[in-house]
């Protein structure tokens, strides 16, 4: 099965949006689910959120941040090129109910995760506020698209070049304290420290908070256990039991730590050989 790239554009520095043919994926996919893609027939298996699925056109939208060599391969794909493999949809769909006022928080490419959730939350008659963050103005993505769906969108930047100056958590705190309709639920996706900060903020307030986790994965079907995370003291596999979990129960420290397993190797990859490095990393 071939997966032609129908559209390809830079959304932000190092962040690419690809619209890709994936007729078998659109059939059952829902918000919160992901695919695993390999850019080439020798490529690494990379989990990517389904940011949007177009059932008519039989395409999915992937938003990819170039962090390592494999994501850079994907970001380099131009319109008309082919992705070797896409498998999905994987993971569970988000539990979406009518809660009243839901806030979705996206940091960086995490915004791609909350975008389909916004649509689904809205469809259930919720009031939906989106808080989206980035380092500076160009890093804030999907603001316009979310604006069409949500009741309010609050962009935040670290340097104040756009919207609120400061972390998304600070803006979230303000919103929870000042919102005319009580916030009943928070959904967040983004860098681990951000999700952890969101969870710490809402925990004492008793607001139900869900985080979409991004651990290292291989198969995405529960057969390797590489994606294991601690949730409420239990070992769960993010690819089949998640990727969304009760943020108040997730061991974020461990998740952040496990994500650094191959970091040294990526550093080598960024050095001389832009992609293919010696793949077998020395421990430490």
């Amino acid at each position: 099965m071939s997966h032609r790239v129908i559209e390809s554009e830079w959304l932000a520095p190092e962040v690419r949006r690809l619209v890709v043919e994936a007729p078998h994926v659109v059939r059952h996919c829902g918000p919160g689910q992901f695919v695993i893609a390999r850019a080439t027939s020798e490529g690494e298996r990379i989990p990517l959120t389904i940011a949007h699925a177009d059932r008519q056109a039989r395409t999915i939208t992937l938003i990819i941040q170039a962090v390592g060599c494999s994501t850079r391969q994907l970001c380099a794909l131009e319109k008309g090129s082919e992705i070797s493999d896409i498998v999905g949809p994987l993971g569970k769909t988000t539990d979406i109910e009518h809660v009243g006022h839901a806030v979705i928080v996206g940091g960086g490419v995490g915004t791609a995760v909350i975008y389909p959730q916004a649509t689904a939350l809205k469809a259930k008659g919720n009031r939906v506020s989106a808080i989206i963050g980035g380092r500076s103005r160009p890093y804030v993505i999907l603001e316009k698209e979310l604006g069409v769906i949500c009741d309010a969108v609050y962009p935040c930047t670290d340097d104040g070049s756009h919207g609120f100056k400061g972390f998304v958590t600070e803006r979230l705190k303000q919103l929870i304290e000042q919102a005319e309709q009580k916030v009943e639920m928070v959904l967040c996706a983004g860098p681990v420290p951000m999700m952890r900060a969101v969870a710490e903020l809402t925990r004492p307030m008793g607001i139900h908070t869900v985080a979409s986790l991004n651990p290292i994965m291989v198969d995405g079907t529960g057969m390797c256990g590489g994606c294991r995370v601690q949730v409420g003291g239990q070992m769960l596999f993010a690819c089949v039991d998640g990727p969304e979990f009760d943020a108040h129960k997730v061991d974020f420290r461990e998740l952040a730590d496990r994500l650094t397993t191959y970091r040294d190797q990526e550093r080598v990859a960024k050095g001389n050989h832009p992609c293919r490095s010696g793949a077998a990393a020395e421990v430490r």
Partner: protein, 494 residues
């Protein structure tokens, strides 16, 4: 031809068991090339002459697929390799695979009459010899196919059970599609069993020959997510489904420290190395190269894991097993090979904690010594901890190979499939599940078992599925039976 016949039993008894030529242990413990090199023709013939052509053929009863062993072995003895291949391939579609990975010492060879007074006929070596000969010399040999029946059959999973069933069903004239979750077909044969034991080229060739007889292989499809079984039957027009998705869910020990960096399930470790080729210098997929590795377990998976770690440079690469060597379920040949390659065997040892450093990396494995006590339910001596015997093995990678379970992904989305308390599919004597038209075999029915049992299930189930489809057509066509080759037969939907 009659050469073997000319030998008297006493003369045959004098011939010693031939050795399998193998790559030098020092060389192979640093590379992923196949260890066993295969018997040269003369040696194979010599070995085959050791067969006494017994009347009661004990070896055949030990073979899970009842290969007519003396029939192919005597043909090898006579130098009639084509004839041997004919016999062998008739009984077993993938002898190049089973000849390499079957536990012959527990199946055919253990029952060989010659084992009573010495060494059994090297049936496994001979099977591999004939298979390799056939793959080299029978190129272009096309299986005879029945005329198309018009039935569409779906197979879930492309491991040995799925591939065998696919071949059999295609030969019976059905239109076969295999759905595989991974990007490459082969199941455990490609992601689990390493190149040094089963070259992937063999699996690739088998898959190619299935394609050549019309089998469609659709990778990157997860049944239960991409499609459900009901989608396949109600919307995609498949009249029967064979579920052969294996038992791929890894079991972890549940000891402290399992989420430290450097701890792998054997599935993850082997998948990264075998399927994703992380052992190659230019691979895009990373794997940690241990300085000192520990692999926990005593089965084939553990053996593959520890020998892989050794090849990736671990010194020592240690195997930790809670029972003694005699109880290890791994193939005996692999244990010998591992030992030759310098793997350290730490027997009667129970891991109790994985130790980490301040940065979250594995730094050692805390263990307890065991001694053998009373036999347990399986009849094997139960290991009991020796109080106060705790000790540490320094290491930077730990691989857990203590077993797998059924993956609930597929069964969860098909609630009318009956599973047992362990999550394995319940089937009847025809290997049909509780859902009409849906059959199952291999590890998803048996629990983690063997390649040959999976192949046997594939073959047997193909026959019962074929009968099911034909009977169903008959019922619907008022007994006229044959549906001819045109179009989809008028079989009602479930």
């Amino acid at each position: 031809m009659a050469e073997n016949g000319k030998l008297k039993p006493a003369e045959r008894m004098k011939i010693q068991r031939q050795a399998m030529p193998a790559r030098d242990a020092g060389v192979r413990s640093r590379c992923f090339e196949e260890v066993n090199l295969g018997l040269p023709e003369q040696i194979a013939m010599e070995e085959a002459k050791r067969c006494l052509e017994c009347k009661d053929r004990k070896c055949v009863t030990g073979c899970p697929v009842q290969i007519d062993i003396p029939a192919f072995v005597t043909r090898v003895a006579a130098g009639d390799f084509a004839g041997a291949a004919e016999v062998l391939l008739n009984d077993n579609a993938l002898p190049g695979i089973s000849g390499r990975v079957c536990p012959q010492e527990k199946q055919c060879e253990v029952l060989c009459i010659r084992a009573k007074k010495g060494e059994p006929v090297a049936i496994g070596y001979l099977e591999r010899f004939v298979a390799d000969w056939a793959s080299e010399h029978r190129n272009g040999h096309v299986a005879t196919l029945a005329s198309p029946t018009g039935f569409k059959v779906a197979i879930v999973g492309s491991g040995p059970a799925g591939l065998t069933a696919a071949g059999e069903l295609a030969k019976k004239g059905h239109e076969v599609t295999v759905f595989e979750a991974f990007h490459k077909p082969g199941g455990v044969l490609v992601y689990g069993i390493p190149e040094f034991r089963l070259p992937k080229e063999i699996v690739r060739k088998e898959v190619e020959s299935l394609k050549a007889i019309g089998v469609k292989i659709e990778c990157n499809v997860v049944i239960g997510r991409t499609y459900t079984i009901d989608d396949l039957m109600k919307e995609e027009g498949f009249q029967a489904v064979f579920i052969a998705n294996g038992a791929g869910l890894p079991v972890f020990m549940g000891i402290p420290g399992e989420n430290l960096k450097g701890v792998y399930s054997a599935n993850e470790y082997l998948t990264r190395v075998n399927l994703m080729k992380a052992y190659e210098a230019n691979s895009d997929t990373p794997v940690l190269r241990a300085k000192k590795a520990v692999v926990i377990g005593g089965g084939n998976t553990a053996m593959d894991g520890v020998r892989t770690a050794r090849r990736l440079g671990a010194d020592p690469a240690t195997l930790v097993y809670r029972r003694s060597r005699a109880e290890m379920p791994a193939r005996i040949e692999e244990v010998h090979h591992a030992e030759e390659e310098g793997v350290v065997f730490q027997m009667l040892t129970l891991p109790i904690e994985i130790l980490g450093d301040e940065k979250g990396w594995v730094r050692g494995l805390k263990c307890q010594k065991m001694q053998l006590g009373e036999p347990d339910k399986s009849g094997r001596a139960r290991p009991v901890p020796i109080p106060g015997s705790e000790f540490e093995i320094p290491c930077d990678v730990v691989v857990e190979a203590i077993g797998t379970r059924a993956n609930p992904l597929l069964t969860q989305t098909t609630p009318d499939l009956k599973v047992n308390e362990k999550g394995y599919l319940v089937v009847d004597a025809d290997n049909m599940t509780s859902k009409a038209g849906v059959f199952a075999g291999g590890d998803i029915v048996r629990g983690a078992a063997t390649v040959i049992l999976a192949m046997g299930d594939g073959k047997r189930t193909a026959a019962t599925m074929d009968r099911y489809l034909k009977e169903k057509a008959q019922r619907h066509e008022g007994g006229s039976g044959k549906t001819g080759g045109a179009g989809i037969p008028s079989v009602g939907r479930q």
